[in-house]
Symmetry: C2
């Protein structure tokens, strides 16, 4: 069975993370992605550590399965080549500052007039509209401005950044969603659309509960450390040898947790009888639970609680997560051939598992700069 | 111009967050989503605070634009009705524990045999395969197990939860991406596919850099508070009246930042001449910058740095973010009609802006439980 996006060609002018993450998702689903890079330097992330034999492991992960051609879009000969690519492409993706594509003569209006079938996907810090469209942004700027940082971190301490670059990645994911929907629509309409995603908007869109709370109560939610702000118990607990997580999200699960921990009386204690009551008495509840959990190791409690059907688990570092049998069984750590040969790079796999689709990414090597020029020229010669 | 997924019908058996977030994305892009809910109780989030006139603001945000019918899939009459819906639907979405749909007689194998055109989308804690497929999970369990919590929080303090429910939401987004790609493929093949997304896999997929670092160095990344682990300066700084963010992600931006702060000599200081050098001397660099920034208010520095083209910005709480002119200009805070009437609920808008598509969600009211039964029966009667 083929991959769902096989036959689709993406011209990828994007660099660093938000745009390349979008085209990685499309590539993992079978699209052909042609990365158009600056001659000599290429994508900035080719120069991001860690390196192996001069190749960036970071670049390799995000650009797996893509092809590369080096073109200077200010050079006439390179522009002529680029113009041959446009009628054969389905989607163009870019993450320049707004206005850059217009100055190159490849803004949406121009492209849509000349290549009406082409879908145009852009991800930028603040989007292509609004008073601050032209300002530069990086991941952390949008994490901070959106409110996400204000709810991440410990109470009464400074806000922290989410450890993953969710500013870029969430923006890239929404762009992939938008261009794929536009692709579906184009089957009927024959017309491409422009999809304009702002990283800042993407951060707002994942706040969910926080906006409802702010609007209804008049107060912005505070930081709550390792605890869910409105479900109890839903946080970290100390065992004899460190922290683990219990997420007993409703009364039934709370009851099962009490039984599993040998705290049967807690179930009918009026302080803990509903989630609202448990939230009110969260500090004393945590201490009553930890008086028990501190007596045994994490593994003991996780086994016991899992057997009782209570959601719980370890807090793993990245190395432990990569070796996790469930994650391994799902092909979520894949080997990518290093461009220079030798030991493969490891990267996160494709989380979208589709019946009949191979998800091992076994041929998804990242390209060397300009490494696919001849194959691309041959494809253009096919007419 | 129509919305890209108009004409598509989604049967939504999902509840709480991961599944409903997926169908919200599809609905925002124009799909018709029919929410099949348990009679009498409905989706759990109908009972999640905050409430207004008995209606949950949380439910309203995530279920905007959807229809509702109450069906007990263990009741024969209700099953008969459900069976009439299946041939008319394009996509079915569920987020039960693996095995639940099989026990109802609606597992993928059965459905695919009887309704080969139907796309089946499932999001669960650990996915439908692997040794721990059957275990229960909530957001925090996958944030903890994936390694995301291990890199979020302050150095030398306990890990924290990401303030937004990215365990659920990222899983829901990958599912929306998968079913939309399957929809595109179905135009040619005529066949539906099963899309199986694990929340745990989704968290791995957003770690990006952390996996490369772990594999190449042998060490898992540590928590780095409000600082990017490998770019400097890329963190929070103290001004006279509080914290703000500077993200000077490369040498050019660093030079501009030095000039804007009146620290020209810093540009050519050998301790700060490359990103690698700046990372090594990050503590002293921060102090040198704060010696200047502490003298004036945040607004002063943000204006100055923005004028110099240096990415920077405020750390806003959720109320401030909701009132942000850029966010307002992008329709990223929308008004949703409350089911009982009266003042509308506020919610995050659709971050996927598509040319010619209205993104105000102005008719996207959340359904009352079973509130669309008659309209759905009429649609089934159309044959």
């Amino acid at each position: 069975m083929s991959t769902p996006l096989s036959g689709i060609t993406v011209i990828d002018l994007s660099h660093v993370l938000a745009g390349p993450y979008c085209t990685m998702v499309l590539s993992d689903l079978g699209a052909r992605v042609i990365k158009v890079e600056q001659p000599d330097v290429g994508d900035d992330t080719r120069h991001f550590p860690p390196f192996r034999a001069g190749e960036s492991a970071y670049f390799a992960a995000i650009n797996r399965g893509k092809e590369s051609i080096a073109l200077n879009l200010k050079d006439d000969a390179d522009r002529a080549l680029f113009e041959q690519m446009l009628p054969k492409a389905d989607i163009l993706v870019e993450n320049f500052r707004p206005g850059v594509m217009e100055r190159l003569g490849y803004g949406w209006d121009d492209l849509h007039a000349r290549f009406p079938h082409l879908i145009y996907g852009a991800v930028s810090g603040f989007g292509h509209t609004g008073p601050e469209a032209m300002k530069p942004a990086y991941d952390m700027v949008v994490q901070a401005r959106s409110g996400l940082m204000s709810i991440t971190g410990e109470a009464n301490r400074e806000p922290v950044r989410v450890g993953a670059s969710v500013g870029d990645i969430v923006g890239g994911m929404f762009l992939a969603q938008g261009v794929t929907a536009a692709l579906y629509e184009r089957v009927q309409s024959g017309l491409g659309r422009k999809v304009d995603v702002a990283m800042l908007d993407g951060q707002l869109a994942i706040l969910e509960h926080a906006i409802a709370i702010t609007n209804e109560t008049g107060d912005s939610p505070k930081r709550s450390g390792a605890r869910h702000p409105s479900i109890t118990p839903f946080e970290t607990f100390h065992a004899k040898n460190g922290l683990f997580v219990i997420a007993a999200g409703n009364d039934v699960l709370f009851g099962r947790m009490c039984e599993a921990l040998g705290l049967d009386a807690m179930k009918s204690d009026p302080r803990f009888i509903t989630n609202a009551a448990r939230c009110k008495h969260v500090k004393i509840l945590k201490r009553m639970i930890e008086m028990v959990t501190l007596e045994q190791k994490k593994k003991h409690w996780i086994g016991l609680l899992e057997a009782a059907g209570v959601p719980c688990g370890p807090i793993q570092n990245v190395a432990k997560a990569m070796a996790d049998p469930q994650i391994q069984a799902r092909n979520m750590v894949v080997e990518l051939a290093a461009p220079g040969g030798g030991k493969p790079f490891l990267a996160a796999g494709n989380p979208i598992k589709i019946s009949g689709m191979d998800d091992t990414l076994k041929d998804a090597r990242a390209p060397t700069l300009d490494g696919d020029r001849q194959a691309i020229l041959d494809w253009l010669d096919e007419g």
